[in-house]
């Protein structure tokens, strides 16, 4: 039992966001855009480590939990796909409009443990932003990491996000290979590769020294985790972010539980081992 009033400190209600303003909007695809936000006095809304989540929304219409897709010295960027009512309103935002932001929430990619290892990033559709945070960190301290592979698939060519990074910037990075695939109507430069095991095998990875980072839809997750497992990559070295409905973000509203774990506190990053241990909810 806790003796009230002694051992818990609290400063300000964690559920109350801070008001920020949108400084730049880049349209990635017809229904995905990235929003750069900054506090009213031009500062950084909150410190964050790659992989952490943030709550981003508009006062009269509500807020949702997104992964912080990129961070600058005095801005944060959220990549939002238009799916529901709140995201529809977010996509009507204009530069200079004020929004509400709070965070950071959840754990982060294990950047320290993965030092010196080869990195295999697998992402599907809107799953690229969370993976990109880790990828950018690796590219930033390129020396700490070995070979980097990015395998990214989307349903159609128009759904590929961060196109210029995908095609121009990342391929020219040292020892970095970018493989892009599209399910439907792929014309021209990209090729259709499906994610069956053979494709991943013939990437020629040093299985013992590779950490796989996986983020995408349920079907992509199922096929890839099986494929990685039979390739021999140990469960601890397969990382993924789980997706659940998150309301409060601070582990109180009880909503985002998968078994005993709360995605917003204990996640979103889990190793495959932890996922296997969870109950098949």
């Amino acid at each position: 039992m806790i003796e009230i009033g002694h051992d818990c400190t609290c400063e300000g209600n964690p559920l109350v966001p801070q008001v920020c303003k949108v400084i730049e909007i880049t349209t990635e695809t017809s229904d995905v855009s990235s929003f750069k936000v900054q506090t009213l006095d031009g500062g950084l809304p909150f410190e964050f480590v790659p992989g952490q989540l943030g709550m981003f929304g508009i006062a009269p219409h509500g807020e949702c939990m997104f992964c912080v897709s990129m961070g600058g010295p005095d801005w944060l960027e959220f990549t939002v796909k238009r799916v529901g009512t709140v995201t529809k309103r977010i996509h009507q935002l204009h530069v200079g409009q004020q929004v509400i932001v709070r965070g950071p929430y959840g754990n982060h990619w294990p950047t320290e443990q993965c030092k010196g290892r080869d990195m295999l990033f697998i992402a599907g559709g809107i799953g690229l932003p969370p993976v990109r945070t880790f990828l950018l960190h690796c590219l930033a301290n390129r020396a700490d990491y070995g070979r980097i592979d990015l395998v990214y698939s989307a349903s159609t060519k128009h759904d590929l996000v961060f196109k210029e990074q995908l095609f121009e910037l990342w391929p020219n990075e040292p020892n970095t290979h970018v493989h892009i695939s599209v399910y439907k109507d792929c014309d021209g430069n990209t090729c259709t590769i499906s994610f069956t095991a053979p494709f991943l095998e013939d990437l020629g990875l040093d299985v013992s020294n590779t950490t796989a980072v996986l983020c995408g839809g349920p079907s992509l997750y199922r096929t890839c985790s099986k494929a990685l497992a039979n390739m021999g990559i140990a469960d601890e070295n397969i990382l993924t972010t789980l997706e659940m409905r998150m309301k409060c973000g601070i582990g109180k509203c009880g909503r985002c539980n998968v078994g005993e774990k709360y995605i917003c506190l204990d996640g979103p990053v889990f190793t495959q081992a932890e996922v296997n241990a969870m109950l098949k909810d």
Partner: protein, 659 residues
């Protein structure tokens, strides 16, 4: 946030007089989402519309609110204006601050507050609008004209001449309506048969016109461009293909019946042609009076018919056809004055007759071959009294409106009477003489010069004395009581809509006004159209009028129909209901509610949470749906919503109103 542009119209002083426009503009600027407010003298004018287009480009506006007159007036105008801008024509809302605000509230303070509320409601609604797109509706290029009077004939001829097939439905055995009963027509006094009969023959002979006499419209479904109409062709008991119209059967038929066409002045046979120049010029058998049907004997006509065209076993036939447009020309009926005016003898005196009966008497092809005689004893009347406005302009006993044509045909009757009976005296009791057409007043002056005595006043009482009728009235000019003993009294009774017009209106969704006339879309701007797209009005069905107006309106209606038929296809109404498949539980309540049978239940396969499920959902036929929204109110889980008037929009309007 949406970027809304609000344009406030002064409408000259119509709005600006009783609404403080500057204060309205200030209040509008604060509304959420409004990025630009502009005032303009006349929004609907060309410069006004240009201002809107320009501001769309300059300020990147994506939604428009125009505070001006009624949307019923200029919504279409502003929507057309938006078609050539980047803004979708349906991202537009109109706040009615003229007809429902500035014109009806004198107190400027209250008027301005109301205008601010109305604009706030429109802004709240436009914020929730979504771009809508029209689709194409095919047009069946065939017209239906209901009513074979002069209006129906003229409309049918115009459309047929333009090359489109027409069906002319007439409930009497022959077309011609009331005009063919007349003798002469004012003001030119040319004989009505000479101008009406040729037109009837043209109709009869026209390859594009199919006449369905003795027929009535039974049932209508569908919508503009695709009406499916079922017509009941009553049994004629004569095979029109074989019958040559020789008239032998009519001569030999033993049973005599009072002729409605001759208004009771003469008899007709059970197998009869209503009048000589009837079109189709073939007889029908009146089942109620034919002895074959009533007593199952006779059958003379069957025996005599050389081409044995008589079919006693004939039945009503139901014909269902597709039509693109409909013109309703059901015409008028004279009011039954006998039940209204007891002081004129309530029909008991045989020599107190109405205008049409007098027309039959004076008509050369009438029962009296044109000799003016008294129906009672056949003697030539020396003094005639004509009483105007019997039933018209008399809200207590009859109708409040003026029947427009009676002053002129009254003068015509006086003129004809004085022509035919040299030493005749003609007294005309009138309230006001309304002769406003071309050459009308001159005609009236001629009648005065012919010696007709016009007495300003109404006849209070008519009572018989000997074989004369004493008419007591007051001459309001000399304010003396005037008594005239007349041989014959002609009452110019009021016009009333045909009682079948009510049923026709109900079938086509055209409302009737208090007096039963079919209501036009707009008295000044759209007199021949109705609120139901594709349904037009012609002739006295829309209100009392004389023959020139009927013909003009008939041609106008025909022009509208031809205009529509020249289009490749019609733009469908995009404001229709849509089904949210996720919420539809397949209960089918909406199917019973839809007046256009536009909703059907369909079994579908859907993947829900990665499991394939088959279930029933409602599906809307966007062609049939007219956007009435009845289904949305019957759907409990709001799976059905009406584009343009969605639940969210209406709720936002209510919220905005109550701030």
């Amino acid at each position: 946030m949406s970027r809304i542009g609000v344009f406030l119209c002064h409408c000259g002083t119509n709005i600006a007089a009783t609404v403080d426009m500057t204060r309205l503009a200030e209040a509008t600027k604060e509304l959420p989402g409004v990025v630009y407010v502009e005032e303009n003298k006349y929004m609907c004018s060309e410069p006004g519309q240009q201002a809107v287009k320009q501001s769309i480009i300059d300020r990147g506006i994506d939604r428009i609110v125009i505070a001006s007159c009624s949307p019923r007036m200029h919504e279409l105008t502003f929507r057309k204006m938006l078609t050539d801008t980047s803004v979708n024509p349906y991202m537009l809302e109109i706040a009615n601050i003229r007809e429902q605000c500035s014109w009806v509230h004198k107190d400027k303070e209250a008027g301005t507050k109301k205008a601010i509320d109305l604009v706030r409601m429109a802004v709240a609604k436009v914020d929730r609008n979504a771009p809508l797109f029209t689709s194409e509706i095919p047009i069946t290029k065939r017209a239906l004209v209901i009513g074979g009077g002069i209006a129906g004939i003229q409309a049918a001829l115009d459309i047929a001449d333009a090359g489109f097939p027409v069906t002319l439905v007439e409930k009497e055995p022959s077309i011609g309506g009331k005009m063919v009963m007349l003798d002469k027509t004012f003001p030119t006094m040319d004989c009505s048969a000479c101008i009406c009969a040729p037109k009837m023959n043209d109709v009869g002979a026209h390859p594009n016109i199919e006449i369905m006499s003795l027929s009535e419209v039974e049932e209508v479904t569908g919508y503009v461009g695709n009406f499916t109409v079922t017509i009941r062709q009553k049994a004629k008991y004569i095979d029109y293909d074989l019958c040559t119209g020789c008239g032998l059967c009519e001569q030999k038929c033993p049973s005599k019946v009072t002729s409605e066409y001759e208004r009771g002045l003469a008899k007709r046979k059970a197998v009869y042609k209503p009048f000589a120049q009837a079109v189709p010029s073939k007889p029908i058998i009146d089942a109620k009076n034919c002895r074959k049907f009533t007593e199952d004997r006779c059958g003379v006509c069957e025996k005599l018919c050389t081409v044995n065209a008589i079919r006693f076993d004939d039945e009503d036939k139901l014909v269902t056809l597709e039509y693109g447009a409909v013109i309703i020309a059901t015409g008028y009926e004279l009011i039954d004055w006998t039940s209204l005016y007891g002081e004129y003898g309530a029909g008991a005196y045989p020599d107190v007759i109405d205008g049409l009966t007098f027309e039959r008497i004076i008509n050369a092809s009438g029962p009296t071959e044109g000799h003016i005689v008294r129906p009672s004893d056949g003697k030539e009347p020396k003094t005639v009294v004509m009483i105007k406005c019997v039933g018209s302009r008399d809200p207590h006993k009859g109708k409040a409106y003026c029947s427009r044509a009676c002053c002129m045909y009254g003068a015509k009757h006086a003129h004809q009477f004085l022509d035919k009976i040299a030493d005749g005296e003609c007294y005309v009791f009138y309230m006001d003489v309304r002769a406003m057409g071309k050459g009308y007043d001159e005609f009236y002056m001629n009648t005065l010069q012919d010696g007709a005595t016009y007495i300003r006043g109404r006849v209070a009482k008519i009572y018989p004395e000997g074989d004369k009728y004493i008419c007591i009235g007051e001459d309001t000019i000399s304010s003396k009581i005037v008594t005239v003993s007349a041989d014959l009294v002609v009452l110019d009774t009021a016009m009333e809509p045909q009682e079948s017009a009510d049923a026709i209106g109900r079938l086509f969704g055209v409302s009737r006004d208090l007096d039963g006339w079919l209501t036009e879309a707009h008295p000044k701007l759209r007199p021949v159209e109705t609120n139901t797209a594709g349904v037009y009005l012609a002739g006295t069905a829309q209100g009392p009028k004389d023959i020139p107006d009927c013909v003009a309106q008939a041609s106008a209606a025909a022009a509208k129909v031809i205009g529509m038929f020249c289009l490749k296809a019609l733009e469908s109404n995009p404001m229709i209901s849509v089904v949210d498949e996720i919420n539809c539980r397949g209960c089918g309540d909406c199917v019973d509610v839809c007046p256009y049978k536009a909703i059907a239940m369909e079994t579908v396969e859907r993947r829900e949470n990665s499991v394939w499920v088959t279930r029933d959902i409602a599906v809307i036929n966007s062609g049939l749906c007219q956007g009435c929204g009845a289904c949305t109110a019957s759907c409990k889980s709001s799976a059905l919503d009406l584009l343009g008037f969605t639940n969210e929009q209406i709720l936002q309007e209510v919220d905005a109103l109550c701030l």
